[in-house]
Amino acid sequence: MSGAIEVILKEIRVQDLPLQRDHRVSPSTPLSEVYEILDKNRHGAAMVCEGDKVVGIFTDRDILYRTALEGLDSQTPVSSVMSPRPVTVRFDHKLADAIKVMVDGGYRHAPVVDADGHEVGLLSTRVILKFIADHYPETVLNLPPRLDQRLMQPEGG
């Protein structure tokens, strides 16, 4: 898709982004298992689902605030430490609206649901930033590996 990002963000829909789908756990999943999933998938969030319904979310932030120092049993079900009823975004909503929901609420992740409220994936801030960076590859991604590398004089000068 070409054009200014200002326009694209207002046109593209949440479902057009590569939503993360490898992070579902059930409410009874023990904390130790959720830790393993979060450690491996690098997204920093797991969606807690009952069937196709999102009942909670458990993120790195929840670990920091609720479990890191509490000495909880490793078999504690995630449902007792998750953030229940997370704010979700609809898969057919414009990305610009989803960004507004996430920015206003201060969320780094938002579960994505369809019109019937069924879970279809997880939208993360990183995926959105990557989408924007991919739109400007020559501006954002083609930077030197070390950003403090600068030419002392113009090339050939």
């Binding site: 830790y35 670990i63 507004k100 801030t125 501006t139």
Partner: protein, 170 residues
């Protein structure tokens, strides 16, 4: 010049697609360097809201570092010794370097589990650098310097907020 409608490869500079008649005028012009794209390179990190850093001494325990993050509502602490930047310890490190390996947060020093010598940006750098580091290197907390002085942190959340306000004009 590819027609965005039917995909036919027209000759460059044509105004209407030869196959479907779609309007192609101006599609091959270079994109404007004004607007958000221009500001990505000509703006400065200082345009983004930079949070003051939460700091810890290298011999502080992980428990103290976590309590400090909790009370300041921050996802990271900067480890400083005599004002010198030694490292950064983030909420991600709490999981991957303390909980999963089974370390005791009360007896582990933050300097043992921090990321030493983190990549830093300067307030005069363009915002594109911050997006680059967060996407290409997967960093969620960027350490911002002003010259040799520690200025604060920018999180991916702050970046998204900046883009929201800048691009969408809210």
């Amino acid at each position: 010049m590819l027609c965005p409608n039917c995909g036919y490869d027209n000759i460059a500079g044509i105004d209407l697609c030869e196959i479907c008649g779609s309007d192609l005028a101006g599609l091959d012009l270079p994109e404007s360097h004004f607007g958000f794209r221009g500001r990505l390179l000509t703006g400065h990190i200082s345009d983004i809201s930079i949070s003051p850093p939460v700091t810890a001494a290298p011999d502080a325990s992980v428990t103290e570092a976590i309590e400090s993050m909790r009370s300041n509502k921050h996802g990271s602490v900067i480890v400083l010794q005599d004002g010198k930047l030694l490292g950064i310890f983030t909420e991600r490190d709490v999981l991957t370097r303390v909980i999963v390996p089974g370390l005791d947060p009360g007896s582990t020093k933050v300097s043992e589990v921090m990321t030493p010598n983190p990549i830093t940006l300067d307030t005069s750098d363009p915002p594109a650098y911050a997006i680059h580091l967060s996407v290409a290197q997967g960093l969620r907390h960027l350490t911002i310097m002003e010259g040799t002085e520690l200025k604060g942190l920018i999180s991916v959340r702050d970046l998204l907020r900046h883009i929201h306000e800048d691009v969408l004009g809210v």
